[in-house]
Amino acid sequence: MNRRVLLQLVVVVTTITAVVILGFAVANARVDAPAVCLGLLMLAGTVLRPRVGQIYRTSLDYVVVIALYLLSGVSSAILVGAVGALGQDRRHPLQKKIFNGAQSVICAAAGGAVFNLAGGPSGDDVLRHPWDAVWSTTAANATWLVVNALLLCVVLSLEPGDPTPLAFLRKVALPTSPSLLGYGLLGLLLAVAWLSGLNFLSVLLIFIPLYVSRWALSQYEAERRAQAATMRAFIQVIETKDLYTRGHSERVSEGVGMLGRQLRLPEDRQQALEHAGLLHDVGKVGVPTSIIQKPGRLDDSEMDAIRLHPARGVELIGNIPFLEEVKSAVLHHHEKYDGTGYPAGLSGDNIPYFARIIGIVDAFDSLTSTRSYRPARDVEETLDILIHDRYSHFDPELVDAFVEVIRARGWKTAADQPAPDGSVTVAIDHDDLSLGSGGGASGNAAGPAS
């Protein structure tokens, strides 16, 4: 049986389960003031949803459902949970919408079952037995999260492509569940505020702070995107000085990102690594344009100016509160494994980890790009050069990992580059392994092309 059929089977089974549950819920539901009010609130939420986006959705839904466990009983909570599933992203295919709806019904029912098993109080008993209320709603909340994650995992394992169920659990489900558990207490507080006599006004007490904290989170995302966009724009300006290196920094950032994921770096370090890849040549802004664009070999003083660029880069980004690793990577990305690089002549594992990673991708992108004095090499040929230069230039283990990831996932080489300029015999790209002079490399990479 292929995956498509299996997937459809899963959808059908969950839908039937959800319908059965809904039938029971309708038979047992109590239609009282909280159920009606919060149901209407849920409905209003579904109307507003397309504007406020996905992130608000889950939080609002399950807070209301948890409050209803305490106020009107499990059946009403399930019904209101189903109302919440009515409004979904219009772009989703029908199958996905149905599954999402069924999923929220099953989650609400599973949570409700655990809530009853844990002896959850209802009505005024909530105020008399606070501990029972805290414990049973938290257990219900945890069940909700587990069932939700399990159902999603089943679908993800049947749907080809990213993300895999494991990646989903590691990257999304686990990191978010503590805070979702915490926000679940707001459901309890909503019930308490309702019972205080405030009735539907209690909604304001809960959702205004919730909305403000969501606002802060969305602002956080916006600031992060703004920062990334600003850095990229800035890098592009620096690269306008040299037609041939255009896009280099972004490709290096892309490449170190691929390698970082292969090495399974945690999320914050992965981000730092990509930043470091983007910013590694930022110090070139301090190198006079005349040197960068100079045709022909550079003399010693000009070479010294080039060698200053890592330190200039650190000087420039020193005030940005990045992880310390970003700065050390920018400073040491021209060190070589055998200790012949600059600025410090570090060797082996003394070179910072990120700097070793960037060194590999930096050289790789330089070789696969066109230079004024030579055409681009193809990817396989370049990988052979990297393999040959293990130990002398690069960390051998990282080279192996990089070769593996490039062979598995391919590489998008630089596009829109000018053709090699026949009138120029030798010029300098300080990253270019095929050049023997100071900043470049020696040995194998200096192939017959130059």
């Binding site: 805070s179 309890l188 006599g197 802060a216 989170l217 850095m231 990229r232 301090g286 980004i317």
Partner: protein, 427 residues
């Protein structure tokens, strides 16, 4: 830096009206503590729990959204204690006790920070004390001590309404004090400062106030279970704001660093961008721009030279090559398109684009050009005349800028610059 942070909290010379605020807060606290000591503390376990919340909130404070109150948990807890009622709390705290608990807890929170050399500010803490006192008085006036949560809507609405009034009075009194301080410190017009304070109050201020109400209601009904249950979502909110403010700091630092690249490339002298931006910000404050526009103005002043990076190398002396207006305008155009490419700073790009247009050909006839462009233009010119190395006296510089009023420079901006220099602005 640490030395600075240590002394920042208690430097009387620079506090100005802060002295009055601290004196008022201190006097209030002293009277309240004496009164409470004579009457004895009622319901000491609630006093203790809320005191601990306030102290911890004060200890873990952080900066967010440019407001000076950095301790949302402490604020929420203090407001909640000010509006506490039964049934769980048998004898609700009196006004004097509320102020005393807040004062003692705040002090207990500040002392460890001061010892550790972290940032602390006695004025901000006193402001919080005063606004909590306002809330407590308002609540006491609007309710009687025997009004408790019974579960019926009649009492609930009354108490909630009184709570809301109390929280609002706290917010408004704090906004008034804050606006007064902003007027004094940055020479902002008072109405503009008050508008900014109130708009900040509707965001994090509202969240703090409503959370305080929630904390008070939950404690009244659940007893001592209330604070821990409310505290969990409250911490998560604080965490969200903390991440936001750290991303904000990172972004600002990034823009500042990018701006410094013109110095590293030799297009401008060290500190030139920062000086220009400081002057532009001073003018913006004087004209009472909104916070969002102030931010764009600062970025535009910092980034106004970025376009030069795409041009040829600077001359060996480091002075700007761009002698003619055409060259400068071309650089501004390039800079604007660079900034635009980021996709998030469009307004900044617009300011930079017109930052070298003479007033007569620009804003005088085209109201679409923002006044910020004129501010950056004047700030750049003044910095060139007075900044490091060129060393003209401010009077001399004002004289030569005055010659360009109406033709080169925006009269409104030059007038503002004259006020600022007259008040003794120095780089």
């Amino acid at each position: 830096m640490t030395g600075n942070a240590m002394t920042e909290g208690l430097e009387l010379r620079r506090m100005g009206s802060g002295v009055v605020i601290v004196a008022t807060g201190g006097a209030l606290a002293l009277i309240a503590i004496v009164l409470t000591a004579r009457h004895g503390v009622t319901e000491w376990q609630y006093a203790l729990v809320f005191g601990v919340l306030i102290a911890v909130g004060e200890m873990v404070q952080f900066r967010v959204d440019r407001i000076r109150n950095r301790a949302p948990i402490a604020t929420s807890a203090a407001l909640a204690y000010a509006v506490l009622r039964g049934p769980a709390v048998g004898v609700p705290p009196e006004v004097a006790q509320i102020i005393a608990v807040t004062a003692v807890a705040t002090a207990a929170g500040i002392v460890p920070r001061a010892i550790a050399g972290l940032w602390w500010d006695i004025v901000v803490s006193c402001r919080r004390g005063i606004s909590v006192a306002c809330a407590a008085v308002a609540f006491a006036v609007l309710t009687t001590p025997d009004l408790v949560w019974t579960g019926r809507w009649q009492e609930a609405i009354w108490i909630a309404g009184a709570m809301l009034a109390a929280v609002l009075s706290a917010g408004i009194s704090d906004a008034l004090i804050g606006a007064g301080q902003a007027t004094e410190r940055y020479n902002r017009p008072f109405p503009a400062a008050l508008r900014d304070e109130l708009s900040v109050m509707t965001r994090i201020g509202l969240a703090m106030g409503i959370t305080g109400m929630l904390l008070a209601a939950a404690t009244a009904l659940l007893g001592l279970w209330g604070p821990p249950v409310v505290l969990v979502p409250l911490l998560l909110t604080q965490f969200a704001f903390r991440r936001y403010s750290s991303a904000q700091r990172t972004y600002r630092a990034t823009v500042r660093s990018m701006a410094r690249s013109t110095e590293i490339a030799g297009f401008s002298s060290p500190g030139q961008n920062a000086r220009t931006a400081a002057l532009a910000v001073a003018i913006g404050n004087d004209l009472g721009l909104t916070p969002a526009r102030m931010e764009a103005l600062e970025y535009a002043a910092l980034l106004s030279g970025v376009g030069q990076l795409a041009l040829a190398d600077p001359s060996p002396g480091g002075a700007s090559l761009l002698r003619t207006r055409e060259e400068r305008q071309r650089a501004a155009e390039i800079g604007a398109s660079v900034i635009e490419r980021s996709g998030v700073l469009d307004h900044v790009a617009e300011i930079v684009r017109h930052s070298n247009d003479p007033y007569r050909h620009g804003r005088a006839n085209n109201s679409a050009i923002p006044v910020e462009s004129g501010i950056v233009n004047v700030a750049l010119a003044y910095e060139q005349l007075v900044g490091e190395g060129s060393g003209q006296s401010p009077d001399k510089a004002m004289e030569s800028i005055g010659l360009g009023i109406g033709a080169e420079y925006d009269p409104v901006v030059v007038e503002s610059l004259r006020r600022i220099v007259g008040r003794g602005f120095r780089f």
